[in-house]
Symmetry: C2
Amino acid sequence: MILTVTLNAALDITHHLDRLRPHGANRVRTVAERAGGKGVNVARVLHALGHPTVVTGLVGGLTGRAIRAELAAAGLADRMLTIAGESRRTVAVVEESVGDTTILLEPGPVVGAEEWARFLDHLDALLPDAAAVVLAGSLPRGVPEDAYAHLLRLAHARDVPAVLDADGAALRMALPAGPALIKPNADELAAVTRLADPVAAARALHTAGAGAVVASLGADGLIAVTAQGGWQARPPERLAGNPTGAGDAAVAALTLGLVTGEPWPDRLTEAVALSAAAVAAPIAGDFDPAVHQALQTRVDVRPFATEELKPCP
Amino acid sequence: MILTVTLNAALDITHHLDRLRPHGANRVRTVAERAGGKGVNVARVLHALGHPTVVTGLVGGLTGRAIRAELAAAGLADRMLTIAGESRRTVAVVEESVGDTTILLEPGPVVGAEEWARFLDHLDALLPDAAAVVLAGSLPRGVPEDAYAHLLRLAHARDVPAVLDADGAALRMALPAGPALIKPNADELAAVTRLADPVAAARALHTAGAGAVVASLGADGLIAVTAQGGWQARPPERLAGNPTGAGDAAVAALTLGLVTGEPWPDRLTEAVALSAAAVAAPIAGDFDPAVHQALQTRVDVRPFATEELKPCP
């Protein structure tokens, strides 16, 4: 199975209404809610593809109970650890007349030092059964800034390859612990390296300790810098839709590729196809199977010279 | 004790942030949550004034559990009935740099016919201990449109005076069942009677079955049309603040007046003072005790001729 870790798991609430009137009272037409956070979304994609997954992370309070209830309803194996604090909610307000969304992100709980120590033991007990572990998303307050470095060392000691999807200090401090793969987006890449060129930035993170760097460049697809070479993979056309969750779908595909050991061009093709299929689905964690299948033969993957590390024009 | 009924109880969530960016991702700085709905807010005011209260109504799901947990934390006696549906949330997004608030109102659960029948029995069992009952707020889906008429007949059979704060069809259909007092605001009064003059409208509702009609006119205070005469009560000045909850504070004061049998001018003075004190407090259900006390001697109450039913100039 593939284990996904979501330290700041969320209850994602979606409010559908015609149009949001700021500074007014807005009647919500329909409400949807589901468990969220990047690791949960990755697990949802893997589960939909038929791969056994287990979700872990930290949840608490009645919002934590709602998260767990939805995980159970979705058929996702739940090994979340309960903490004292209240899990966060996100509220996405979807304006149907405008086709646009306003998002509110609560800060989430403060994790105690004893709770964090307990989570390290909890994760260590789950790792022996994992073919790979995915560490994804922001860190809750109270967890050390180098939290992902701790988790990566546990995975390394158990010989479990680890995929990291994080940004800022959490990403930078994790690199020396040697994640097998990281998947920053263009903004995260630029922020953490202060380099404008994504290839140069990916190369810098590869040098800093990441086994492979796959950066998502939105409509331009993915670039990969790995020990086996460099590639750029592009979708055949720009897709309209909801980009939230596209990165999580790419992480799911790349983690599967890591487990199966497929050649990099095949992994990247699958990652682009699944990302595009996620853009075509309205909710993060879902993907459109028809788009997924249609794109599997239509992704353009080209190597670039590893010396130059420049994408093909 | 005074019993308050909130058929569509809510979990009121408040998100504080600097400024809301529509169509963006907004990080919430702090989150507060409390049990809400008009009847709960009325009970909170009565409880703060030291009067024994019991809250009942319908709650369900994990949101219902969060509502009950907060009622317990607030020291409010909770006799809510649990239903299968999920209670609604309201989200108030407070922009601290602007001083303005955007509100999202979820529709709430659908109540089953068997659940509604069970609530009638549940309320009937609580009524013998009540000095008065307050029926306040919107009806959840699934409850009959004449729900308040049913509840008023139960109260009447137990000789318990009932105060109703409702609008639209729920108010109109309840009038023949003879509530002791109703408290529409200016908009509700106009909508239900199609009369522009609030005094004429209040008189129409009095004739239609309400023992007394006290209409809240915002900064213009209250007008009362009762069997004992007509009055207008005005605050000494316009108060800035949060008008949400001002009506609930007025209902709390008027219900106390009904129980104690004080003269109408005293009841109206207290209702205006408590309303103004609620406007001065940031959260619905709270009031500012200093404002409450300061205004008790400063409310201007004048009778108007019952034949004409025109407020004094």
